[in-house]
Amino acid sequence: MTEQAIPSPSGGGQGGGLGGYYDYPVVRRPVWTWEVPAYFWLGGMGAGAFVTASLAQTFGSAEDRRIAADGYYLAAGSLLPCAPLLIADLGRSDRFHHMLRIFKPLSPMNLGAWTLTAFTPIAVARAASHAADSGLLRGPLRVLAGLVPRRLTELTGSLLGLTLAGYSGVLLGATNVPLWAKSKLLGGVFMASALSSGSAAVTLQAARRGAPEATLHRLAALESAASLGEMAIVAAYLRQSGRTARPLTTGRFAAPFWLGAVGAGSVLPLLLHRFTRRHHGRTLRSLSTAAALCTIAGSLALRWSIFEAGKDSSEDQAASFDLSKA
């Protein structure tokens, strides 16, 4: 009688010598669906547009201020669908307000719900005051919008916006999903993606509205810096994650991540911006528009691929053991 190797639930695994119970996952698969990355993307872009517009109000020339203030429209427009998306993802959507029955900043989910609740009306109010300034509103609405304290909304809105842009990556990191938790940089990655897509949204609108070339060049410089920063922090994030990043860097999310998030989101806009320096007029506007669209699409690809690959990573037993090793 020949002896057969008995398939063993422990010892045969790939957990770095820490063979587990068959290949069963250690942690549960996140239950969230597409609404979550969509919300992170839109909320981040809206917050980024608000912050960019507000920085322009404080530091920019009269022309830059006028152009960048359109960012408040983009912010309001991106933020309004966020609460519905967040609510739709709840198991009990009728109980969304339970998030607000306590204030518990220890929970990023609670902090995010409060931030979104506070930031959305501020962004809408600032957009309304911009509409009043540019003559889009008339009558009593204009008087009402004129009452909005601009500097105060810009300051509080920027702080809330930066919180909204950054908490999403911290929230995913504050779990035991290896791809999200192994590196401590995911909050920084999402912040970078939010700010680069937000400033790209401002550029998109500026190019559409026929902004002066000098303004477009400055916005291009800002976006190039944002793209470079984003590439750097994504690289550091991948380096820290090591083998844990495999569900993202290989397999079914490799294409959306490398081609979408990194290629279209950072590398392509950087190349396009290099060309914008030498061009004027329509070519400059087309190049700026193309670069901005790439950045915005790349931002969605980044959130979506890291979110979805994280779900697969939760089933990676070896990565879970690696995360919890002494």
Binding site: T58, G91, R95, G166, V177, A181
Partner: protein
């Protein structure tokens, strides 16, 4: 004024604190009968999970979940002893660990997850809004959300309650009550810890050199999540039972994560200020 607020908000006084209750699951006594799984399902009226066959072992439950609060693992181990292969079966009834520092409780944005007067972790079903954050927060993969299409407490998070309703009436939780070998022991946590140390000594004296306790205050598994109020006596490394060596508490790294996020935000603001300034004459 506080009394008036409490009346207005219909707030109840929390029950007076009692001694901490928990489980000591001695896997060396488990015979894999799954009576605990059945008793748990019956008492808590949890629906069946369907007839899924894993095809790997007698464990067709697979893992804990929203409607499975006890799960018996069947760990088949083979090792070569000369020319013979020796086999052993390790069985373990897994359950929510009711951590002293519970990741699920800290993650919960609604306050649905609370610590009871028995120092256990409990989900208030009328508060939970099914945000799902506790699910990946738990380092043990215990708590889960019921799918929206389920007929059972739709959309909210569930896990072992340590039979909170039975505890309120001075009764033993259903799983411990049904365990025929006293593998699942219920009682005051401190007393159970004493009993566990004695039992470990006994097994070590009999030559069970790989026996160990998992979830005691001095163990490295308690570094972040604290002592487990449902703790275990294991006969092999924790990983053999799919238990993490040092279960991570997300709170411990949160400040650093926010720090990196803030650093990127401040960096962007500084670059933007410089760029826009450059346009001013």
């Amino acid at each position: 004024m506080i009394d008036g607020y409490k009346r207005l908000m219909n707030l109840e006084e929390p029950p007076a604190k009692k001694t901490a209750k928990g489980f000591f699951t001695d896997t060396s006594l488990c015979i894999g009968c799954k009576a605990c799984e059945v008793a748990c399902k019956q008492w808590n009226q949890l629906p069946a999970d369907g007839f899924a066959i894993t095809g790997k072992s007698y464990d067709n439950t697979g893992h804990l979940g929203a409607t499975t609060w006890r799960h018996v693992q069947f760990i088949e181990q083979a090792k070569a002893n000369g020319r013979r292969q020796e086999q052993r079966w390790l069985m373990m009834s897994d359950v929510c660990k009711h951590c002293a520092n519970a990741a699920c409780l800290e993650a919960c944005p609604t306050g649905a997850l609370v610590r009871t007067e028995f120092d256990t972790v409990y989900v208030q079903q009328d508060i939970c809004n099914g945000c799902g954050f506790c699910v990946p927060a738990c380092p043990f993969g215990v708590i889960d959300r019921v799918p929206k299409e389920s007929t059972f407490e739709v959309g909210t998070a569930h896990k072992c309650t340590l039979c909170y309703d039975r505890l309120k009436d001075d009764m033993t939780p259903a799983c411990a009550k049904s365990c025929p070998t006293a593998s699942i022991q219920f009682g005051d946590v401190e007393e159970l810890q004493v009993r566990a140390r004695e039992r470990l000594g006994e097994l070590r004296a009999r030559g069970e050199s790989t026996a160990r306790l998992y979830g005691m205050p001095e163990g490295k598994e308690a570094q972040e999540v604290g002592p487990l109020h449902a703790f275990f006596l294991l006969l092999d490394r924790p990983a053999a039972y799919n238990l993490p060596e040092v279960p991570r508490l997300p709170r411990k790294t949160m400040a650093e994560r926010y720090g990196w996020s803030a650093a990127v935000g401040i960096g962007f603001a500084m670059v933007a200020a410089l760029v826009f300034r450059g346009g001013r004459r």
